[in-house]
Symmetry: C2
Subunit: 150 residues, 2 copies
């Protein structure tokens, strides 16, 4: 039975507890935002949303927590073709890796899960003798709606 994409609130916090990583009010707020986010957030958006839960959260704590989450392999960092600005976007790493597509015209972000992608990663691991820790496939182009409209 496949797990749903909206998944296990509290899992990030559980991971922290499991590994003996200290929990603070600020981290709790940031993790909750990441856990409940319905779209990809950049650092500034994450800061604003976290401050709604705990007004004391500082920008530097957001960046420090993002670094921690990355090191723990709990989130992925994306560029999304820099549709808005030069910063990065973040999302929880869920059970299935997926491809990101960004429409260069309307800015819509789409996700796509593919067995061929899994096969490709297997090929890289085998043919290049490379142990994959993190992978990121981002595609820019035109979505179905915008293809015609161009």
């Amino acid at each position: 039975m496949p797990l749903p994409q909206t998944e296990m609130p509290g899992r990030l916090q559980a991971h922290f507890a499991d590994r003996g990583i200290r929990m603070t009010e600020q981290r709790r707020a940031i993790l909750r935002v990441m856990e409940t986010a319905t779209k990809h957030l950049d650092a500034a958006q994450l800061l604003r949303k976290a401050q709604k839960l705990d007004a004391s959260v500082d920008r530097s704590t957001v960046y420090r927590t993002l670094r921690l989450l990355k090191r723990q392999g709990l989130i992925d960092e994306l560029d999304l073709m820099h549709i808005h600005g030069e910063g990065h976007y973040y999302e929880r790493k869920l059970n299935r890796d997926h491809i990101h597509m960004a429409c260069l015209r309307c800015g819509k972000i789409m996700e796509f899960v593919s067995d061929i992608f899994e096969k490709l990663k297997g090929q890289v691991e085998k043919d290049c003798r490379f142990r994959i820790v993190v992978s990121r496939l981002e595609i820019g182009g035109y979505c179905a709606a915008c293809r015609g409209a161009k």
Copy 2:
């Protein structure tokens, strides 16, 4: 007969001429550096190398020219897992798309051409009805040499 990976010096300049894009001393220097680069360059490295050919080249001209090259689809922009700093790396877009792998231990960058990657892009175009303009697959992990050493 497959085209070699080190390829056609002057092709970027030829493209500019074909499209009626103005050529300047500064652009000539920047294009030459991109054409002859043997590794991925960030904006600062590109600036330094271009200044050796034409000392007048300014940082802003480098960024403006990079933007132009991106819009023309002549170069790809990469993060290379931010192995050094938060900036971007650039490389000429050659005939065959390739995957980039960055070793998180030794920092080595590897490239890999795969038919499965081509097939995957075909799947995205077909199944998602998405017209791909640019794609970027970056992988972080451990190369063969570093796998043992860890």
